[in-house]
């Protein structure tokens, strides 16, 4: 909208300038700075040397990095499908009017508003064999408590369980929103066609949820590729890096060993990875047939 005689064309910039300044200085500048840093040998407090692609060739041969990549993928593969399935099931079951479903929905969403430190605090004392809830239950059943947080094969599942408990709320809400957009007529037509519950689900509900499902999968994958707090606090990435995800490795490289240049290179690789995975998922999603 232009009005005749608006005093000057640049006046509008005054409104967007404050944000743009903060944004450019605190987000865009560090973004490019980071890329630059990854080509240097730098520590956190100044002092750097240009080393070209040395950081990148190093990470290509770094077994710890490879291990952390593998761990990250394992975690994502454990968490995302399970989370999607559970949240979908909950959404289907709780997509009803009335107070009881509303209370349940609220319960399932409540864990999502907690911070990672609260969640890990809670789950540490569920999983730990000395004092945890699971240990108590095991004892009561005459079993040995399971060493969730110390056995190399169990630490990743432990993190997965914790994360699923923590994250089920948001996907559930997204599915609920998607379910509510399905027109009632489709179900009525199916009922008139004598479609059973399972058939209705398979032929009507699921296809209509295609977009939401893709969205949930994409979001959760991107989020779980960046998993950090639970690993740091519950298992410290152990034992011996068995549950160390990439971001924890980045943290240790930068704040444990002060290797800022290397850490930034790792971060850039992760960034590229997230973009690549997201794009692949998006592309794959558009290939899946519609309802």
């Amino acid at each position: 909208m232009t009005g005749a005689g608006m005093r000057n064309r640049w006046g509008g910039i005054a409104f967007v300038a404050p944000f743009l300044l903060v944004y450019s200085f605190l987000l865009i500048y560090p973004l490019f700075n980071g890329i630059l840093l990854s080509f240097h040998n730098a520590d956190l407090f100044g002092g750097e040397r240009w080393i070209g692609l040395a950081n990148y060739s190093r990470l290509l041969q770094d077994p710890t990095f490879h291990q952390s990549l593998l761990n990250t993928f394992k975690l994502a593969l454990l968490i995302v499908p399970t989370l999607t399935a559970i949240s979908l099931a909950l959404a289907l079951a709780l997509n009803k009017p009335g107070r009881t479903p509303a209370i349940f929905r609220g319960l399932f969403f409540s864990s999502s508003v907690l911070s990672v430190t609260i969640v890990t605090l809670i789950w540490r004392f569920i999983l730990t064999p000395d004092a945890g809830l699971m240990a108590e239950v095991a004892e009561a059943l005459g079993q040995e408590p399971i060493p969730w947080l110390s056995h190399p094969d169990l630490t990743i599942p432990a993190l997965a369980i914790t994360t699923i408990w923590w994250s089920v709320g948001l996907p559930m809400m997204l599915f609920l929103a998607g379910l509510q957009q399905i027109p009632e007529d489709m179900y009525e037509a199916a009922a008139l066609d004598r479609a059973g519950r399972w058939t209705t689900f398979r032929r009507i509900t699921l296809p209509s949820l295609k977009r939401t499902t893709i969205l949930v999968v994409m979001l959760q994958t991107a989020a779980q590729l960046q998993i950090f707090g639970q690993a740091q606090l519950l298992t410290a990435g152990g034992p011996s890096g068995a549950s160390r995800p990439v971001v924890l490795y980045i943290y240790e490289a930068s704040f444990g060993r002060w290797e800022l240049g290397y850490a930034t290179a790792l971060a850039e690789v992760l960034f590229m990875l997230i973009i690549a995975v997201t794009l692949v998922q998006y592309w794959a999603g558009t290939r899946v047939k519609d309802a």
């Binding site: 997509n95 409540s110 379910l179 971060a267 992760l270």
Partner: protein, 278 residues
């Protein structure tokens, strides 16, 4: 609200499933609560005693008696409030500018901001840390608040909201001799109250729960936010006062969040869904 399966009542199988799920969801919370109500000494012997009396409020009293936890709480409040107010101010102004005003490069600048939505925290956190170190901003409130103001989601959100307001109102205001700022301040901004609530609550929660940045920027104990403080407690718990006290801290830290959650449940869900769909 219900569509589809609302007309059929839940099958017993579904009820059982939801019931089990609810139990699994609630059990950790209840366990934490129980632990917090037991004396530390008892728990050291056997944490199974959490299932039986006697219960005590000693751990909470200990918190209330003055403790780092309060300092952490205060820091969280200041940082989260500061971030929220800052985001609302910057994003409302920018949202109005992008939605309603004409100025050179408007479209380019908006795309520039939108692209920021794709940037994950990891790609910027380390350089940000060094930048703030150079500026001497670590272990300070501005240092904790400023990074939170740079996110593009708020601008995108507010721009969409401003766009949805009928332009006739702007035109009426123009004919009423209102300047751009007056139109913003007196006519359009009041109409964005729901968006302000949604964005405000979302920002507050995100800021309150954020872990990475406060972890690496606030290294002095007295500048910890509640979230970071809890992490340090957790790591030191063997040396500190014990399991009951630790869990009391967890419950205590959850209370503000649950209050906000109960008060603003609708806004939170809307905002998180909106953030997801972008």
């Amino acid at each position: 609200m219900a569509a589809g399966s609302s007309r059929r009542s839940m099958s017993p199988l579904a009820w059982v499933g939801v019931g089990i799920g609810a139990l699994l969801m609630a059990a950790p919370l209840l366990w934490t609560l129980l632990l917090s109500l037991k004396a530390n000494a008892e728990l050291m012997r056997d944490s199974g005693t959490a299932f039986s009396a006697p219960y005590t409020l000693e751990n909470y009293a200990s918190i209330l008696r003055g403790n780092m936890v309060f300092r952490w709480l205060l820091n969280s409040v200041i940082v989260s409030l500061g971030t929220t107010l800052g985001v609302l101010a910057l994003c409302s102004l920018a949202g109005y500018g992008f939605a309603r005003l004409e100025f050179p490069f408007r479209r380019t600048l908006f795309v520039f901001v939108l692209l920021g939505l794709a940037i994950p925290e990891q790609a910027v956190v380390l350089p940000q840390h060094r930048l703030f170190a150079d500026l001497g901003l670590h272990n300070s409130y501005p240092g904790l608040i400023l990074p939170g103001l740079a996110g593009p989601f708020g601008v995108f959100f507010m721009t969409q909201y401003f766009r949805a307001i009928p332009r006739e109102l702007d035109e009426a205001a123009m004919l009423d001799g209102a300047s751009r700022f007056t139109t913003f301040w007196k006519v359009l901004l009041p109409l964005t109250a729901p968006a302000q609530a949604t964005l405000g609550v979302f920002t507050f929660l995100a800021s309150w729960n954020s872990y990475w940045w406060p972890l690496i920027s606030a290294t002095r104990g007295d500048m910890f936010t509640l979230t970071v403080g809890l992490a340090s407690s957790q790591m030191n718990y063997a040396q500190t006062s014990g399991l009951g006290f630790l869990m009391a801290q967890a419950v205590f830290a959850s209370i503000p969040i649950f209050i906000v959650y109960l008060l603003f449940q609708k806004q939170i869900v809307k905002a998180m869904a909106g953030a997801a769909v972008r």
